[in-house]
Symmetry: C2
């Protein structure tokens, strides 16, 4: 299939060459920033750079929006699309209904809409094996949905048909499990670094923690540490160790209370 | 070496057979609860059960306290030990100085003291490969330290000589990286479960998050998500999704602010 990619962030960076690897052709890459579009185009077979969102003459049948959630509305307003193309976004939190309405408001030509959401964390410098990336698919029309599922199945062995409501829940839970978890590791390293200790020391523990949590029926069943034991003297000592860092103290208190209150 | 184990919790459960596997003999296992002591003794070659803390006639040279931090003081008061034995605790947060003073106050006979702290999370149902468990060793006397390092090296390839101050920092950072992280996964599962979604869906993302964080020089360098992007409309939507759960909202707000404030 001929595909245009709107965006040059982390998702676009990995998704574009992965789509070509399974036999599709990226015909255009759009970015406000020409250099960013060029960087992705260099990894592709024969993609043109687009910097004005005018795709009137495009031969693409599928347009993938891989941009920040906050930018979707503005791009929909500006983009010029060929008739009957399929336009999808890659966001975890934007409903298909909202997206489809937005397209209808700003476009007179018939345009099909859908969602092509990879439930994964992407960074430019880290290679991703798409085979293990869960894709959450949604579309207004059944044919669009079938096509999106087919493309997702070429990329990955984990493809789900997921409603907007379910996708929102998945995205929210991913913020806890992924974004917040990464931040805890960052705070943990900060605590060590301030005392001249290396993060290496904690790595076996972190790996074991995750392995254990993912093997358990419920991660709550394998909770350990002073909060769950109700070990108040250790909690008090930890808060005093953090007395120079009100932000870390607040995270410590909030997480400890939450562990003690979970039902 | 002949060793007595005081305690029947998760650490004792795994440490006792591991010590026998590398050639030591556990001669006694103490627990207030006889059944718990028996359960561990059943996994050992020829360990006696002790329920009164009287080790006057013990042939053990090393006594390992694997009990809750809050219980250490009471056990030191009650325990009767043979002269010149080495008594160690396995706690991350109790200083050797505090421990040694406590022993001196309550015991007239000369008793050597040390710390034998495995930087790991233990649950009874999950097998542990001790080869990858970092051990943090400390002792008042050089000979005791050498002996403890030797035993730790038989169990593990990661053995450190660590001061009480450093151990406290390691333990605090482990609470963030391990206990709090596990709790985030528990919350994440709770969010999914309430909407009838399976935790399986998030597992590839969680695995990738941890792999990426541990490969990065600093986990903060690979932070992703609405908080770090300053994506206020998604943050607002997430908080509204959580409006029935004040505890989850509090965790969300605290973590988001902390991500946005980290220097």
């Amino acid at each position: 299939m001929k595909i245009s990619l709107i965006g040059s962030g982390n998702v676009a960076w990995h998704l574009a060459p992965a789509l070509e690897d399974v036999g599709h052709q990226i015909v255009e890459v759009y970015s406000r920033n020409k250099k960013n579009a060029q960087k992705i185009a260099q990894k592709l077979y024969d993609a043109k750079i687009n910097i004005d969102l005018d795709f009137d003459d495009s031969v693409a049948q599928l347009f993938i929006l891989a941009i920040a959630d906050d930018a979707i509305e503005e791009v929909i307003k500006q983009i010029i699309l060929p008739e009957n193309c399929l336009l999808v976004h890659t966001s975890g939190s934007k409903s298909l209904e909202w997206f489809d309405n937005l397209v209808k408001i700003h476009h007179d030509l018939p345009i099909k809409t859908g969602v092509f959401y990879p439930l994964m964390t992407f960074s430019k410098t880290k290679i991703i094996d798409f085979k293990n990336v869960p894709f959450c698919i949604e579309a207004i029309e059944e044919t669009s949905k079938k096509n999106l599922v087919k493309i997702a199945q070429q990329l990955s062995k984990i493809v789900y048909s997921v409603s907007s409501e379910e996708r929102k829940t998945l995205h929210l839970s991913a913020v806890f499990a992924c974004n917040f978890t990464n931040h805890l590791l960052a705070l943990s390293q900060k605590i060590l670094e301030e005392k001249g200790l290396g993060f290496e020391l904690l790595k076996p523990l972190i790996e074991e923690t995750i392995t254990k949590a993912l093997l358990a029926k419920h991660p709550a069943d394998v909770q350990t540490g002073p909060a769950i034991r109700g070990d108040e003297s250790t909690i008090k000592q930890h808060l005093s160790q953090l007395k120079g860092s009100p932000d870390l103290q607040k995270v410590y208190k909030t997480m400890t209370e939450s562990i003690q209150n979970i039902d």
